[in-house]
């Protein structure tokens, strides 16, 4: 395990991150070592190391350096206490850390086990700790979710010993940790469920469930990327995966609720899950017709009371997408948004979809013809809720 950041303060709650990205699988197709007897059609992956780095950079960039609190981890009640990571990539992944650049240890099954146990120990240190577990790599889903470590396929006699059951792991952790845990699992299913069900997969969890212990966790959020097929993973060419991109965007000020009496805009599991789902739909809209496009979906499981992962000082933003039909009239209109506070933004006489980010709130949205020849289109009161808002204005003859 590579510990990139350790600011744990004894007796005080904090947020502890364990992030794993597995791109190279030496025993799978295209790997550098002996091919497994049953590689299940699985190949090397380009996205996980890139996605992992993006996530680590996001967590470890302080708001002051970023110049934008919404683009960084902010939680005054559980500040960032530790970040640990494992990565399987070729070349090895190097991450800039406060103490200098560090090369991440590979995500073998044993390394994952050790890293997980260390992370769990840190989580147990205070009842108000928050844990973040992130995985990007191969996985399959039967009724539970199984994730594959770098050395999956190393043993043909016991093929599933280099994988682990993350669903059972979650069930175990909720009896060990009194705090809150967030799981972000970016493991698209390249093996369809009906096929996966026939494989006899039975990997162990990272921690055994102790049924003699009471469930003590405050809150659990698990969000899964659930696209099928390799193309659902990421845009081609080794980019950040769609799911991870949506996750980072959601956490960068595109979700949050300010409850009555709260001083901050709080980002919790429900908010993140909704935002991720909608952002991926939005992404599909923009990618329509392009190579590698296709609707990517996510799934979630949320239990317990709401405990925010982020507590942001400013209202979240909304990605607005305004179109006008018929398309031949677009360049004849000024499309605008007018907030209840009187702030107005507009796109004038341009033949393209109007895309802009605005703070959440209530707006008048409309289109006017500066020449006065065409009818105005007005939606007097629209609530723009994060992460996105899409409307097609209709100019009738």
């Amino acid at each position: 395990m590579t510990l990139l950041h350790d600011a744990t303060v004894a007796g005080q709650p904090g947020t502890h991150v364990l992030a794993i990205g597995v791109g190279t699988y030496p025993h799978l197709l295209g790997g550098s070592k002996k091919l497994a007897n049953k590689p299940l059609g699985l190949k090397q992956l380009q996205s996980p190391p890139v996605s992992l780095k993006a996530l680590l950079d996001w967590f470890m960039t302080p708001p002051a350096a970023n110049g934008n609190a919404a683009g960084s981890f902010v939680n005054a009640q559980a500040p960032l206490a530790s970040v640990a990571a494992l990565a399987s990539s070729d070349p090895a992944l190097v991450i800039g850390a406060p103490q200098g650049a560090k090369t991440l240890d590979p995500a073998t099954r044993q390394n994952i086990q050790l890293a997980f146990e260390a992370w769990l120990d840190r989580l147990k240190s205070h009842p108000d700790n928050i844990g973040v577990f992130y995985f990007c790599g191969h996985g399959l889903e039967v009724s539970d979710h199984y994730l594959l470590a770098e050395d999956f396929g190393q043993s043909n006699a016991q093929p599933w010993t280099q994988a682990f059951d993350i669903s059972m792991t979650m069930r175990a952790v909720e009896r060990e940790v009194a705090g809150t845990v967030y799981y972000f699992i970016d493991a698209c299913r390249e093996i369809a469920r009906d096929v996966a069900a026939t494989l006899g997969a039975n990997p162990a969890s990272l921690f055994a469930v102790d049924l003699n212990k009471k469930v003590v966790r405050k809150s659990l959020t698990a969000i899964f990327a659930t696209g099928e097929g390799e193309l659902a993973f990421a845009p081609q060419g080794g980019a950040v995966s769609r799911f991870t991109a949506a996750l980072l965007c959601a956490m960068s000020g595109y979700c949050g609720i300010k409850a009555a009496g709260s001083a901050t805009w709080n980002v919790d599991g429900e908010g993140i899950a909704n935002a991720v789902r909608q952002l991926m739909e939005y992404d599909a809209l923009d990618m329509a017709g392009k190579p590698g496009s296709g609707l990517q979906v996510s799934a979630q499981s949320i239990q317990g009371i709401s405990v925010p992962l982020l507590r942001l000082p400013a209202a979240p933003k909304v990605k607005v997408r305004l179109d006008l039909t018929p398309a031949q009239r677009r360049a004849l209109y000024e499309i605008y948004l007018l907030s209840t506070q009187g702030n107005r933004v507009a796109q004038s006489l341009v033949d393209q979809v109007f895309k802009i980010d605005v703070p959440r709130g209530f707006y008048e949205i409309g289109a006017t013809d500066p020449a006065g020849a065409l009818p105005a289109v007005v939606h007097a009161q629209e609530e723009l809720m994060p992460p996105m808002y899409s409307l097609t204005l209709q100019s009738h003859p």
Binding site: L29, L40, V142, D144, M168, R193, V215, V297, G304
Partner: protein
Amino acid sequence: MKELTVWLDYGMADFGRRGPASGLALPVKALDAEGSVLSEGAASVDLPARLQVPDTTDLAFVRLTWPSGHSETQRVDLRAQPKPSVRFNDSRIAPNEWSAWAIPKLNPQTPLARAERSIDLGLDRFDKVWLRLWRFDRETWKKQTLQPEQTYRSGAAWQLDLRLDAAPWLLQIGGSLVTWRLVSLPGGGPARVLITPKDSNDPRADALKVVVTGFRADAETLLEFLARDALRAVDALAGSAALAQQLFAEKFEDPLSAVAGAYYLLRFDAWDRVPLRWFETLSRSFEWLPDAALVHCIRLLREGATPRGTSPGPHELFAQSLQRGWPIYAEGVTLLHEAAASLRGSFARSDPTPFERARALGTARAWAGAAASFYGRSPDEPSPLQWVGMPRAPRRRRLDPALMAPSEGRSAGSSLAFAESAPKRRAPPKSPNPRAIRVPSGDEFLLGNIKR
């Protein structure tokens, strides 16, 4: 503080007639211009929400949310009215009164929500879609004659009204273009089923959407939100813990609503707010209800070490739940899987069958909102394998591409075991299962039987 009253004039969506439980309730929030929450609660057709907002609030926005995620917002100038109030009504939705109840549960883009009488989704193409009704009796699923009390049809949906006794029931649906699927129906009274073509771009969506009600508006709304992990909305429903406890307390009047209350308490880790004996009484008194044994089982599992002599314990309750049939509600499928996974070690030593049955259900899971649903050829065999066709001529809906195209994996010796044999090459979708016997399908209930 100022008081803002929110009325819910949802006559049609409240089934048009009253069911056995309280009327429909939906969560409402008062927001400021920035979208911060000033106050939240629930408005029902019986009782308005009374939201308290700060005295300094001049302008507020009141948002009502449906289980589907659709929301409607109204602006309120609190200076202009001595007793500010807002009314939400359903007059603009569903020209067909009989389908209005389902709209809050459907995708926000559903054509049914449009106030147009001329919607035509081409339902004729589904005329050969068949329905079968199953009832669980003495540990066996038995096919029943489907005889609706009333049926409805428009250009956008079909609807059936049924009356079901106290037992687990399943409605099975299938067709040439419709994957075989089973949807749980609430027994112990009237039940209503609405079927409409899919209304979303979600690649997981089935060709036909099935929405179910047992006329338990408050309990079902809570479960619909739970099914979508909309926990803030659940919490806002009249201080849901209080509602949940109330539902649970009235278990002898309506055990299905009691189960809904228990599901809420388990999801929010509030299960210790009610005495354990309530769970015990529920599972003991309603032996026909799988969910009753299941919530009791989970309650014990969540608590940890079960005191010696506690009977029945989690293992027995888990087995009891399976002996009573499949859970009525989707939340139950999740918890059944949790119980199976948690108790797996002990089952492996004795008889793994209960674990494997529960696991099969979890793997075969489908979506029908709050109602439990799964894929499979029969109620006894939940399976992720997707089948289409007439009941006596089923065929696989699709074959995994990895099996059909030559690939490095295949040439390198990969092999994937199958429970059912797969053809060696791509087969046209209409290829029949060679082992099936073709018989006329005249004895099946077809959607085409339902006339406008």
